[in-house]
């Protein structure tokens, strides 16, 4: 029975491939093709659902061995990345739950998305996402889980940018993907450290070896995976991305940010329970971040007046509680909490549009009186504690500024030092220059330039000649005069400017980072 597990992610993946290829090459398209697309996607996820259920049944009857290996994906030296799956316990339960929810949402979308412009695109992405999520929960090694993790993030990107002609949607999609990429970097680092210290990237091996790890190693691995989990499950300081992600169509919001994808972070933590249990620090971090997010989401949620924002903040708050439970050691509770929350939130998101329809003529309930009396708290809550602008100010702006400075440096300094394209630069570009040259005004004093060259060697020769000439002209012929003082002053200005720019916070931070990197 174990071998069936391969088919569970493969079914939606092949559905995605068929729909994607068919749509790309024009076999499936338009309104007539809608039923074909919907059928393919619907049948595939239903099959996955049945397979997952039979796997669960077989597990209950004791027919499963608990794992299944289907060959090797990549081998390099001792790094062996197999294609293996875990077919027991929490993994299968989640696979069953998620495939049922995904099947529901796909069924819901068949009618909901009817006659939408990107119908086929939507089902392609949803099928791809289903495959990714099922791979994520079933994979027996870290790289397999990471593949699911990334593909899920990618489909989230495309569904946020579903209405891609709206600039806000496109900008939010990019922002969300890049934010998640920070978590992905943590995940990759975690994989690398696991391989370096445990020598294997199988989850079971890591959990079995957790006892042999020193507490520092366990903490490092646990913290790397926590960063990934925090980013995926929208914990502080990554919480704002969840609000931005609401640009997509409702069914995708339901399945990504209500029911399935946001829980991936909690799943990862529960999966790594043995490693976390060897690290008090990582447990404390989980608890603190979870609690902070729960409080944050609750306070901000109090002032929200639109249904999607309220739901999203409720979701991140509940996820925060799950992290808190993990951090306090109530693993079983967190697992149940995850499952229950997925079901409830999926329902709430799916009914949100009809809810809006029903309350169309009624006033939204005003903000709670407690909140409206506390003016500062109210503003802070309304502004979501300025978290987004703060991250902009702390991270995005300095990076952009650094990029801008480096770009200038590259164009004006590195490029010049390495030798520019001589003929184009030295050509006469305007009529005035031509006249100047004919009349012989030589305002740019080009008479000094005897030697001309380009490239490093050419320029070097030219400069040497120019410097010698200048030296002779200014010092030997004219004596030390006013020019020297002027040059000195100019040099001072340049040095001053350099110092000022170096003292900008972004450079200070950069230097500190570089020093730290060298130190470690």
């Amino acid at each position: 029975m174990d071998a069936l597990v391969v088919l569970i992610p493969l079914m939606p993946l092949s559905a995605a491939a068929i729909v994607g290829m068919g749509h790309l090459f024009g076999f499936i398209g338009g309104e007539t093709g809608e039923s074909i697309t919907a059928d393919i996607a619907g049948w595939a996820i239903s099959m996955s659902c049945l397979l997952a259920l039979s796997l669960l049944g077989a597990g209950l009857l004791g027919k499963n061995t608990g794992s299944y290996a289907a060959g090797h994906w990549l081998n390099s030296d001792t790094l062996d990345i197999p294609v293996n799956f875990i077919t027991a316990g929490f993994h299968v339960h989640l696979a069953v739950l998620f495939s049922i929810l995904l099947a529901l949402v796909i069924r819901f979308s068949m009618n909901y998305m009817h006659r939408e412009a990107g119908y086929h695109r939507f089902f392609f992405m949803l099928s791809l996402f289903s495959a990714a999520m099922l791979l994520l929960v079933l994979s027996g090694n870290a790289v397999g889980t990471f593949i699911g993790w990334e593909i899920a993030g990618l489909s989230s990107y495309f569904l946020i940018a579903y209405a891609y002609d709206r600039p806000v949607a496109a900008a939010n999609a990019t922002r969300v993907f890049v934010t998640n990429r920070i978590g992905d970097a943590g995940f990759i680092l975690g994989i690398g450290l696991t391989y370096a210290w445990v020598g294997s990237i199988n989850w079971n091996d890591l959990n079995a070896a957790a006892a042999q790890l020193s507490s520092g190693e366990a903490t490092a691995i646990a913290l790397c995976f926590s960063v990934a989990a925090f980013a995926k499950s929208a914990q502080l300081p990554f919480t704002p991305w969840l609000g931005r992600a609401m640009e997509g169509p409702t069914p995708s919001s339901a399945v990504f940010y209500g029911a399935v994808m946001v829980h991936a972070g909690v799943y990862l933590i529960i999966l790594l329970r043995p490693v976390f249990e060897y690290s008090t620090l990582a447990m404390a971090v989980l608890a603190v971040v979870g609690l902070a997010t729960a409080v944050y989401s609750f306070v901000v949620g109090l002032t929200q007046t639109d249904v999607k924002s309220s739901l999203v903040l409720a979701a991140s708050g509940q996820l925060g509680l799950m992290f808190l439970e993990c951090g306090l050691g109530f693993w079983q509770l967190a697992a149940w909490h995850l499952c229950a929350h997925a079901v409830v939130r999926c329902y709430q998101f799916l009914t949100a549009p009809s809810l809006l329809h029903h309350i169309h003529d009624h006033q939204i309930k005003p903000v709670t009186p407690v909140m409206s009396n506390l003016r500062r708290a109210y503003v802070a809550s309304l502004q979501r504690f300025w978290l987004d602008p703060m991250i902009d100010w702390m991270l995005v702006k300095p990076v952009r500024g650094l990029a801008h400075d480096l770009s200038y440096f590259d164009d004006h300094i590195v490029d010049r030092i390495m030798g520019g394209a001589a003929p184009a630069i030295q050509a006469i570009s305007s009529l005035a220059q031509l006249e100047e040259q004919i009349v012989g005004a030589k305002l740019d004093n080009s008479a000094d330039k005897f030697a001309q060259g380009s490239g490093l060697a050419g320029k070097l020769t030219e400069w040497t000649a120019a410097v010698l000439h200048w030296f002779e002209d200014r010092f030997v012929l004219r004596g030390i005069g006013k020019d020297t003082i002027n040059y000195g002053r100019q040099l001072g200005h340049v040095a001053n400017k350099f110092e000022q720019s170096v003292l900008r916070p972004r450079y200070l931070v950069l230097f500190v980072c570089i020093t730290l990197l060298f130190a470690c």
Binding site: L24, H72, W73, L74, N75, S76, D77, L79, V143, F146, I147, E150, I151, L154, Y157, Y164, D165, R166, P167, A169, A170, A171, A173, T174, F177, V178, R181, I182, D184, A185, I188, L189, I191, G192, L193, Y195, A196, V399, R400, A403, L406, S407, D410, D415, I417, M418, G419, G420, A421, A422, P423, A424, I425, G455, L456, A457, G458, L517, F518, C520
Partner: protein, 512 residues
Amino acid sequence: MNNASFPILSLLVLLPLSGAIAVTVIRNIQLAKNIALLVAALELIATLTVVQLFNADIGTGFQLVERYAWIPGLNIEYLLGVDGISVLFLPMSALLTLMVIVASWNSVQTMPRLHLALLLALEGVTIGVFSALDMALFFLFWELTLPPIFFLIGLWGIGSERRGAAIKYTLFMLFGGVPLLFAIIILAINHATAVGGSIPQDLSFSLPVLLATALPDNLQGLIFILLLLGFAVKAPLVPFHTWLPTVAMEGPTQMTALLTGLKLGVFGIIRFTLPLAPSAAVQYSWVLGIFGAITLVYSALIALQQTNLRRLLAYASVSHVGLVIVGVASLNMQGIQGAIFQLLNFTMVAGSLMLVAGFIQHRLGSTEAIHLGGLAKVMPHLACFYFLFALASLGLPGTSGFPAELLLIVSAILAHPSISIAALIGAILSAAYMLSFTRRAFFGPITRTSVKQVQDLRPRELTLLCVSALLILGFGFFPNSVLKINKTTAEAWLNRLMDQPVLTSGDEGFEQ
């Protein structure tokens, strides 16, 4: 050493060269185009035959070797051969050239025969660079890549300063050639001194012989620096990279696709720099790593600032070279295998992205973000392929970029943990620059009438991109198909470096 019964490598070099001559001689343009296509296709088949003939299980030494005396007075030989590192570059170069020829089928209107002839000639010498085993012969092929590229940029460039860009490129490459030549001469003389012979008779330029000759410690550092400098210009590594953005802006996109796709410089570093100066390579691997890390982060940051797709791709390509160098400097199996994998990837990913940029340029006359906007709506096919290639370039699972990048990052974590942080930052930045350009060019409302009327990919272009898309997905799903070909050679390469007696100077502390 495994000698070839049939001189197939020479055939690979000569076939495109003779094709180039044929194309120049033939008057009929259509016939010339067909012949060029035929030659490129035959070349691809021949290179695939080489991969078939190649035995991946023989780790040490070169295969399909052809040896003829060339300049007997100086002991310079005509020596060709392949090993697991170079063998896959041959079909990739052939495929990319074929793609470039198909992509420029109608877009090159002036002097099309000369254009095709130069492309074929470039293909021939590039294959020569990958398969030459005699240093002098290698240097000849290396420098012979310059004239075709010079004329391709200068004559068919799309920028107003294409002549300047062509000169800039050539000067940079000539500058890189000087240290290379010095290193080759020093190595040859060292061999003569080592065997105790006299200078002109006992010089040796053959790579297998030079690899067997021990290099004294005082020369190790010098040779390492010279060879590194020579190849760093071509790779390119910061600060020698400034020719690439210029060429990308001024040169024709097909040419840039070849330049960003075929990373001859990094190949040179793997093939010559490290094995020829092994103890210096081990001692200074961290310097190389830092060099790579700086290149990686520096160009990724600059790429964030770019508004033109071609320039962005140029910086992205430099940034990826940085990551490959980090992998090479890690001196472990994951690093070297990931580096070769990533270099092969470039041929498809960077080359195809540049070709896509060329398609946009050809239709709209610009790849500047402000002139685009909303392309996904009017060119859905092109947008699909663009996304696939862009995602492969930022290493998303499912594409061939992922296994390569994973190997490189894991190798960095194993060897130099602090450099691996730079690699991870690079991974985040690559998503930022790629997707924020995508947002401006492909998403958003259509604002320009020229964009509104643009035509999507033609069947010819679609087929072209399908081929590389299939390869990218294929390598992504089955990375072992590539890795098993270079496994034994990579092991031998690594053993050669690591089995050296470690030098006494205590500069090893950095790695801890």
